[in-house]
Symmetry: C3
Subunit: 133 residues, 3 copies
C-alpha cells in the first residue's frame, strides 16, 4: 500500500509538480475511495499543495522562502544547507488528499508539489493509500 515515486530535481530551489504521478499511483492501487498521504523521506525538501495553473505561483513560493531564509546566514550547521533544513521543517514533510472514484478531491487550481530546497538531486516520495472502511 506504499508506493514510491522517483524524482529528479534540476535546481537548488524548485517546486516540482507531481500531481500526475500521485494520481497514477492512486489508479494503480485499484482503490476507488480513500485517503492518500504523500510523504517526503528527506530533511532538505518538503511537500505542499498549491496552484498548478500559473507557474509564477510556484516560483513566488520558492523565491519568497529563499528571501526569508537565505543560503548564507547566521547558521551553526556547516554543510551549507541550514536554510534547506529550516524550510523543510516549516513547509512540512507530508500532505494528505482524499479521493473518490479514483479521482483526487481537489479544488479547481490545486496540485501537489515536491519542494526541493537543496538540489539538484535524485529524490523519492512515498505515497500511502488508506482505503475507506
Amino acid at each position: 500500500m506504499i508506493y514510491r515515486i522517483e524524482i529528479q530535481t534540476h535546481h537548488r530551489n524548485e517546486l516540482l509538480d507531481i500531481t500526475e504521478e500521485v494520481a497514477r499511483v492512486i489508479k494503480k492501487s485499484n482503490i476507488k475511495n480513500g485517503t492518500a498521504i504523500i510523504f517526503v523521506p528527506h530533511t532538505t525538501a518538503g511537500i505542499t499543495l498549491n496552484e498548478n495553473y500559473d507557474p509564477s505561483v510556484r516560483r513566488d513560493i520558492s523565491e519568497s522562502l529563499a528571501r526569508l531564509f537565505p543560503k548564507s546566514g547566521p547558521y551553526s550547521h556547516t554543510e551549507g544547507n541550514a536554510d534547506a533544513h529550516i524550510k523543510s521543517a516549516i513547509v512540512g514533510s507530508s500532505r494528505t488528499v482524499f479521493f473518490e472514484n479514483g479521482n483526487i478531491l481537489f479544488g479547481t487550481w490545486q496540485g501537489i508539489f515536491f519542494c526541493e530546497f537543496d538540489g539538484p538531486r535524485r529524490r523519492e516520495v512515498f505515497v500511502k493509500i488508506i482505503p475507506d472502511a
Copy 2:
C-alpha cells in the same frame, strides 16, 4: 464519510474559528472513535489549530504572516494574491484531530481555524472521518 462545511469570510486576511462546525460533523457521522482530517480545497487559504480563547491570538497570527509576506512584493504572479499562495503553502491545507466518544481530543485552549488569505470569499472545507478499526 466526507462532509462539506460552507464558510463566508469577511476580510482579506482572517482566521475563522470553525471548531463548532467540525465538532458537529463528527457528531453527525455517528462514529464514536476515530480521526478527522480537515482539508481546504483552496490555494489562497489554509487550516491551522491554535488558541481560540483570546481573539488577539488569531489576529497576531494573521498580522504576523501579513508582515512577513506583504500583499505587494517582488512577486511574478500578476493577480495580486501571490502573498496568499505563499501563506497557504506554508500554513498548509489540512490538519488532523483525534476524537473519542464523539469528542475531539484537544488541549485546553485548542480550536480549529480556517485561514483566509485572499478574502472576503465563499469558501469550503472538507472533513473526512476515519473510524478506528
Copy 3:
C-alpha cells in the same frame, strides 16, 4: 490506540528529539504495519521531522524561527507568548509517519522533534496508531 508521551522541556525555545519515544510506542502497539500520527495538544508548541544527526540543525531551526518572530513584537496578545502561538500555527500540530514490520519508514537522517516555543514546561504528545487494512 492513542498513546500519550510525557515530555519535559528545558528552554523557552527548543527542539527535542522524540524519535525513540515514538518508535517505542509503535513497538508497544504490536501493530506491524500502519500509520502513526503524532499530535501536540498545545498552542505554543509544534511537531516536525528533520535531521537528528547533527544537533546544529535543530538549533538553526529554533533560532531562525526566533529571529523571524521575536518574543517582543507588535503583538496584541498580552501574555508575552504571541510569538510562540504564531510559530505553532506555522510549524503545525501534527506529523505523520509510516511503519513496516514495526519500523518507521524514515529517510537516512530523519527524526521526530517536539518543538517547544514557550518553555520550559511539562508537555504531552498523543500518538495514534492506524493499522493497515
